[in-house]
């Protein structure tokens, strides 16, 4: 299906595959294994697959647990387009969304011993770009093949 990517990603319209799964962590495995299979077929290396697997796992867990709040009546929609040069994945839940900028930095000293709050940051570190729709119930993950395994982390380090 043809999908308009968020303008900030500058990807225009994309032809993406779509899967809709029930809102539970076991069902969330189906799109993950399909996407991982596609990554291997497209020749992505182990480091790249590690990062994508981690980012996708975090996005799916957030959608099931926080977005849809574990409601079994709700669904998760996953859209993806994988080419040899780029991976684009969108994960949407049916929740009311959240403000990603309000999630505290889990690496600051006062938050280091908190058990939660690392998923979003890990997605940002392992992906080339991460963005959300306006209400925050749809996350887009983009990984350019030419990027290093965790480009977001390297830019965080450079920023200081």
């Amino acid at each position: 299906m043809i999908v308009h990517a968020p303008p900030q990603l500058r990807l225009g319209s994309l032809d993406m595959a779509e899967l809709v799964v029930p809102n539970d962590l076991r069902s969330a495995k189906a799109p993950e294994s399909l996407i991982l299979g596609e990554l291997e077929r497209n020749g992505y290396d182990g480091d790249c697959i590690f990062g994508l697997k981690l980012a996708l796992e975090e996005a799916m867990t957030n959608a099931v647990k926080h977005g849809n709040r574990g409601d079994p009546a709700k669904h998760i929609t996953v859209r993806y387009r994988i080419t040899p040069d780029q991976v684009v994945i969108m994960v949407a839940d049916e929740g009311t969304g959240f403000a990603p900028e309000c999630v505290p930095d889990p690496t600051s000293d006062e938050n280091l011993e908190r058990p939660n709050g690392r998923g979003i940051m890990l997605m940002q570190c392992y992906m080339s770009r991460v963005c959300y729709n306006a209400c925050g119930n749809e996350v887009w993950l983009v990984k350019d093949r030419t990027d290093p395994p965790n480009p977001g982390w390297e830019s965080r380090l450079t920023e200081g």
Binding site: L25, D47, L54, L112, P115, G119
Partner: protein, 121 residues
Amino acid sequence: MEQPSSHLKIRHADGVAQVEFADRKILEELSIQEIGDELDRLVESSAGVRLLLNFRNVDHLSSAALGMLVTLNKKVKERNGELRLSDINRQIFEVFKITKLNRLFEIHDTAEQALAGFSRR
């Protein structure tokens, strides 16, 4: 005393509980919770437990697993115990570095190095 578990292999030697993970991936919420419960029981079994978690079988983990380890670390400290991690592969160690949890945990390259550093009783 050994607890039967499908997720952990626990060996007690020289006053240290050495734990290896049976799963290569510590990702799924349910198994993470079970692993956490199992480790909690180990920590609660005696005051001042000395615990070594060997990651040599693990090739993937998620933020939920990191959260479980953070909670475990707190519990071990509260009970005057010691927790060490060893044999973490390069990709997973990177996750610890990114989240700065390499500063919170005592991480050793090998189980031997970790064992050598435990305080003598």
